[in-house]
């Protein structure tokens, strides 16, 4: 490298330091990606390839993991399978090669649907309540405001296992155990603290003058909230919704302890795939891939809001 005299602003890194920094950060990022890439790679392996020694980096990709994830199968004799006639689909064909026939859809679809219903339901409620409360806390004189805000945040600090004991008893009395409604209410309660804190930050950023001039023009308080503040909060509400959705989507402890069949979500279900069909790692990997792809997408989408989301709106970029 030739050291040319370069004009540098004070405190700015030299080109060489920058290259070094870039190399180290990229190295770390690549190491970080290995487990994720490995999950996706395993989802396209055959069960045999997934447990080969040494681990296979190059292999014949197959959709067997995905087929196994979505179906239940039973083992049959070769004669029985020959007697069935032409396979009805590519999935059928794939399964028959292993001397199996598809007997129906697996429970994964139901669990995944539960995740969607409970995730969206609780997100909608938490953001709805959070928007109102955030506006209330931001714009009105509320007695014991700081104490109430602290109370709201502190509910988020509780260890889920500790809350789960009485919730379990309470839901059993109310008939809410293992119901989507029960889980929606519970996740709403957990998420509303995040929603209030985040959204309050967004409301605080909207200049009061907008509302004031609307009020001068004859809008009532509710009208100015609806027509002036709410449209301004749109991007804040979107970001908050995604954070709430990701939480509900990923939540495991409550789902494990309070649901068993009807309302079980994907996170406690995916690990149980291993127990069902022997060591079917490609199916687990397929489930994990489908489960995490939306989150990866949202993380990239939200990258500039992440800091705010993970600090309850305290630190903003």
């Amino acid at each position: 490298m030739v050291d040319k005299p370069v004009m540098l602003k004070v405190g700015e890194a030299t080109p060489r330091a920058r290259t070094m920094a870039a190399a180290l950060v990229i190295l770390y990022a690549l190491i970080t990606m290995v487990p994720l890439v490995w999950i996706v790679a395993t989802s396209f392996k055959s069960p045999g390839d997934s447990i080969s020694y040494p681990p296979k980096v190059i292999y014949d990709p197959t959709l067997e993991g995905y087929v196994n994830l979505f179906t239940t199968r039973s083992r049959q004799t070769a004669e029985y399978i020959d007697g069935l006639g032409e396979p009805t689909s590519w999935a059928d064909e794939l399964v028959r090669k292993r001397n199996m026939v598809i007997t129906g859809p697996s429970r994964f679809i139901g669990r995944f649907t539960n995740s969607l219903i409970i995730g969206f339901g609780s997100t909608f409620l938490a953001v709805f309540l959070g928007t109102l409360a955030a506006y209330g806390f931001s714009r009105f004189k509320v007695p014991f405001k700081d104490d109430l805000l602290f109370f709201i945040l502190s509910t988020r600090m509780m260890p889920p296992i500790a809350v789960a004991i009485p919730i379990f008893l309470m839901y059993r009395k109310l008939g809410l155990s293992d119901t989507a409604l029960g889980m929606i209410l519970l996740y709403t309660a957990v998420n509303v603290s995040l929603a209030v804190w985040l959204l309050k930050g967004f409301v605080d950023e909207i200049p009061l003058e907008y509302e004031e001039s609307a009020r001068v023009d004859g809008y009532s308080r509710l009208q100015s909230f609806w027509k002036i503040v709410l449209p301004q909060m749109r991007s804040g509400i979107a970001a908050t919704s995604i954070f709430c959705l990701i939480f509900a989507w990923n939540e495991y402890a409550f789902a494990l302890l309070l649901t068993s069949g009807e309302a079980q979500t994907a996170p406690p279900f995916i690990p149980s795939i291993i127990g069902e069909g022997g060591l079917d790692w490609p199916a687990v990997a397929a489930g994990t891939t489908i489960f995490m792809l939306p989150i990866v997408f949202f993380t990239v989408l939200l990258r500039n809001q992440l800091l705010r989301g993970i600090t309850f709106g305290a630190v903003r970029k």
Binding site: I51, P55, A133, R316
Partner: protein
């Protein structure tokens, strides 16, 4: 990415506007609206957080067993608390938890701070690489934890092979080994959460005005002095906030460890919350585990209090 920490609209402004608008109030009065806007949230939290919490406190003084609803529940006073605080096993699990929190926080602070300092050199494409580093943080610990058991398989897993690529030690059984199991969970937690500390340190670094470094340059401060006297004190509140928040979360750690080691081998990685789950939902000692839960609450709540104070300090 812009670099400024935006200040809150001051409280004073809100109050002033509140007064000036009050006279022109139309429709519902502000007080009624404020009540209707805030009450639903508070009521929901009272029903689903505070009521259960009070119930837990009540149960903690009884010998209730949730799997035997018909059985008479007796008041046992402080006996559950005495048994828990006097139990050497539980102090052991607490120690395991403290140990886990200590090592994860130490490693993640060093890694996170280093990464933030490197990213702050503003090389080309640092935004994209930062986003890549952030991804594990957003994933589900339980689901990803399950997959890590596959990565950790001594024969067929890539972790063992990666180690053997550098040093020839034979199959590495991270999860089955008494000596390595703790590190198995520390590594996955570090992989997931280093970005959290990194992101907050980065925010801290970007809040430092360049003029401070210019002044130091004039005083002929060397790089180390600049780091020690300018950078470190300025990012300290952010770093503290990050460590405190992650410390609380790791104190409650459940998902990842359940799926990764479920407390084993033996009880090497049996963290307090995992042990609590066993007592509450496997042995069904509801009264006893309620007292256990209250003890964990009080600890977390104390830490949470410090967290909010730190939060307010960072804000101002």
């Amino acid at each position: 990415m812009s670099t400024q920490t935006i200040e809150h609209a001051g409280k004073g402004v809100t109050d002033k506007a509140h007064r000036s608008l009050k006279s022109k109030a139309r429709g519902f009065s502000d007080r009624v609206i404020a009540w209707w806007f805030i009450a639903p949230t508070i009521l929901l939290l009272l029903a689903i957080n505070i009521f259960p919490l009070l119930w837990t406190v009540y149960l903690s003084f009884t010998n209730s067993r949730a799997n035997q609803p018909g059985r008479a529940v007796e008041w046992v006073g402080l006996r559950n608390y005495e048994r828990i605080l006097g139990s050497a096993d539980i102090w052991g699990y607490m120690q395991t938890t403290a140990n886990f929190v200590f090592w994860t926080m130490l490693i993640q602070t060093v890694l996170g701070l280093s990464l933030a300092l490197l990213i702050n050199k503003n090389f080309k494409g640092n935004g994209a690489w930062t986003t890549v580093i952030l991804i594990p943080m957003m994933l589900s610990p339980a689901v990803v934890g399950t997959f890590w058991t596959y990565i950790y398989q001594p024969q067929t897993g890539i972790f063992s092979h990666a180690i053997n690529f550098f040093v020839d030690v034979g199959p590495v059984d991270m999860i089955g080994s008494v000596h390595l199991a703790t590190w198995a969970i520390v590594i996955v937690d570090t992989w997931m959460w280093t970005p959290y500390i990194m992101l907050l340190c980065l925010a801290g670094l970007r809040s430092i005005p360049g003029s401070l470094y210019e002044a130091a340059e004039i005083d002929r401060a060397n790089a180390w002095q600049k780091f020690w006297y300018i950078t470190l004190p300025r990012i300290m509140p952010f770093l503290m906030l990050a460590v405190l928040f992650r410390g609380i979360e790791n104190f409650k750690m459940f998902d990842l460890v359940v799926e990764l080691t479920s407390g084993g081998p033996g009880s090497i990685t049996e963290l307090a919350s995992i042990n609590l789950k066993r007592e509450a939902f496997e042995k069904w000692k509801t009264g006893y585990s309620s007292a256990y839960a209250v003890i964990l609450f009080v600890t977390v709540f104390g830490l949470g209090n410090i967290y909010v104070k730190a939060l307010n300090k960072v804000k101002s």
